[in-house]
Assembly symmetry: C2
Homo-oligomer: 414 residues x 2
């Protein structure tokens, strides 16, 4: 048995989260005998939590099929967006009453960025400063940039894409809002949320964070660091299912002034009053829009059960770093030098929960990996992404992934 | 047996759609023996189609649980919004390639109204006319008005609420877009889509129709009548499930100029190109935004199976009118004159697929009706709504609903 295989065995034996794997439906065996799938694509679509199928069957057959509209009140459908928001809140370091679930990440980016610009203008109003610039991470997942451009166009702002490292210097008295990614979707780089948020605030602007690639994998600390608004998806490290609804965080002190560009009837102070005049609800509900998609939303609610009990996000983070460290160690041991280039930073403070490796034939390599049961994904044009979900990925999985990668790389290219 | 009970028996026996009832999960017996529930709230939440539970179980357990991300391509998740749009299209009189499913109705109203204003300005551009007014049905379901107000604010327009009958006179060279409801959610009044659309066009403006209360219950004829944009929900007469995704129709000739205010990555010409610059996809895909909520969307897809085979929307309309005629006939026979006032117009050309009855104690009356197995709904402050879904409501159901209503009214108020 190789040194890495032995290490994997020891690490798995000492893993305090190992038992959580049973909360998911996985065909692999945790790598113990090298069988089944090693699923390293939880940063795209989280694996199925075991609690989901039964819950959804009940929602479809009994709640919809038998109770029908009564479920809006009797089964808590109507309050699901804020109830499930409160389940996500502790995972991103937010007190209750600040997170609401619904719509896609893109739609929530629109609400948050327009909302942030409007907040900046309210604040700037008396001082007379013209806040007319939205700064966006130039390396962002594209939808954030596209939606920020629309928000800029519709609020009379200019959109300014800036690489994250250059953002502090780009801020000024014209900056209204800054849209940032906590973890870069491509490289897995973790950005410094506390420092960047402080810099945005020092410039008198509002910070919007996209947590898609961090929530559920590492501590975020929204309240602690004074983040203004945040959005995230729930189908990656939160395992909510394909296209599960996203969420919006609005800091409690800002909620009374949060002025949504999508003031649908679900955000009305009295939604069943059917009044022609809009009056926004207080609190997180103000971020709601239309009727929530109950099936997807209640699948997410069931999926969040995997966090119940004594699991903490700090334990998850510790294991995530141990997994990615170990993966890099195995890649270095198995893969000939120079065959791949690691795009993910080595320092723990700059690393999310994925490893991105660049190689010229990445598309072909990933196809072969998947064919051998190691599932990561490919990002155009030359990136292999491997996501590590600490609740269900183990160290033997990790060793096997690196070993199979080395085998594939030995057969191809170079 | 009363005259009405005999008539119900005859009408049920002659009903060409009677067999469709078997495609739904219903606890009633169609009224034959007066057992179970008479469900007259399909205009709020359609009953569960029998094909849905099995399909969703497969989507959850196999597609998500086993195939995971492979399902985005292998199970057609990625193309679901336009594929399911093409299933809805014939029901609203649209050729393929013009309807895309996703987001809530409210979000689609925003896309459509902003899109219509931008189209109007493109057209008006050369002539120099300032199109700066959005006209909205003053009796609209509130969310349409709230969202239209936001669209007006964000495009520099004025919002002008006008009662539907006054709309032709309110149009002029400043009108950019007109947002109308095909059927009024409260009264069940059917508006004249062909004539109103023609009036909007004569004024050089763009017509946006909300089909929430008509799609699946009566012919819409979007293509035939030259409607520009339309939106609708899928959880009423389309039976897609609670909060099922809504849809957006953009007329084929306008698609190249449709300029969405929510240009998420799913509407990009090359979504996996991950390009920083936005380039819109051609066709209906341009109406997409973020990742589609697959569970809710595929439940809707299965729900649309009830339309397969030889059922036509014209047959559905004929039965809908026969049901509402018969309900009014029974109400007149059973309920003492003056106890309720019918808000729904008598002429077939002005009636949707619901009957709205006003009585001062409507809230209490509806509670008692539901307690006796006749499920309609209550709209503040004094409206009883009874929705007739021709695919699963029969004439004996209808007679029983009127009879129980008369019993309840005899016990209460007045």
């Amino acid at each position: 048995m190789s040194e890495q295989k032995l290490r994997a065995k020891e690490l798995d034996a000492a893993d305090v989260l190992a038992a959580r794997r049973a909360a998911f439906v996985l065909d692999g065996d945790g790598g113990a005998n090298g069988g089944g799938t090693v699923y390293l694509d939880g940063n795209s679509l989280g694996a199925l939590p075991a609690a989901v199928p039964g819950r959804i069957e009940d929602v479809v057959r009994r709640q919809w099929g038998e109770l029908r509209i009564r479920s809006w009140t009797e089964e808590g459908w109507w309050t699901a967006p804020e109830r499930i928001g409160d389940r996500i809140a502790p995972l991103v370091g937010a007190a209750a009453g600040q997170v609401v679930v619904g719509d896609s990440t893109s739609v929530n980016v629109f609400k948050a960025v327009v909302g942030a610009v409007r907040l900046a203008r309210l604040t700037a109003g008396a001082a007379g400063a013209a806040r007319d610039e939205i700064v966006v991470d130039a390396t962002t997942f594209p939808t954030d940039g596209y939606i920020a451009a629309s928000a800029a166009r519709m609020t009379g702002c200019t959109l300014r894409p800036v690489p994250p490292s250059g953002i502090p210097d780009a801020l000024g008295e014209r900056t209204a809002a800054v849209l940032l990614n906590h973890v870069d979707y491509r490289t897995g780089r973790l950005h410094d949320l506390p420092a960047l948020t402080a810099a945005v605030h020092a410039a008198g602007a509002y910070a919007v964070w996209d947590l898609c690639h961090s929530a559920g994998a590492l501590p975020v600390g929204l309240d602690e660091h004074g983040v203004d608004l945040a959005v995230g998806c729930t189908y990656k490290y939160l395992n909510g299912g394909p296209g599960a609804p996203a969420y919006l965080y609005v800091r409690a002190e800002l909620q009374d002034r949060f002025d949504s560009p999508l003031p649908g009837w679900n955000s009305h102070a009295e939604p069943f009053g059917m009044r022609p005049e809009y009056a926004p609800a207080p609190g997180a509900l103000r971020g709601r829009v239309g009727t929530p998609d109950i099936l997807s939303m209640l699948a997410l609610e069931a999926a969040l059960d995997v966090w119940d009990g004594d699991v903490t996000i700090e334990e998850v983070r510790a294991k995530s770093l141990a997994l990615t460290d170990f993966f890099l160690e195995c890649v270095e041991a198995y893969v000939p030098g120079g065959r791949v280039e690691c795009l993910t930073p080595r320092p723990h403070g700059e690393r999310g929960s994925q490893i991105a490796l660049r190689c010229p034939d990445a598309g072909d390599v990933m196809q072969r990996l998947i064919g051998r049961g190691v599932v990561g994904d490919f990002r155009h044009p030359d990136v292999l992404r491997f996501g590590f979900t600490p609740l269900y990925v183990g160290f033997a999985d990790t060793e096997r992934a690196a070993r199979v990668l080395a085998e594939v790389l030995a057969e191809t290219g170079a």
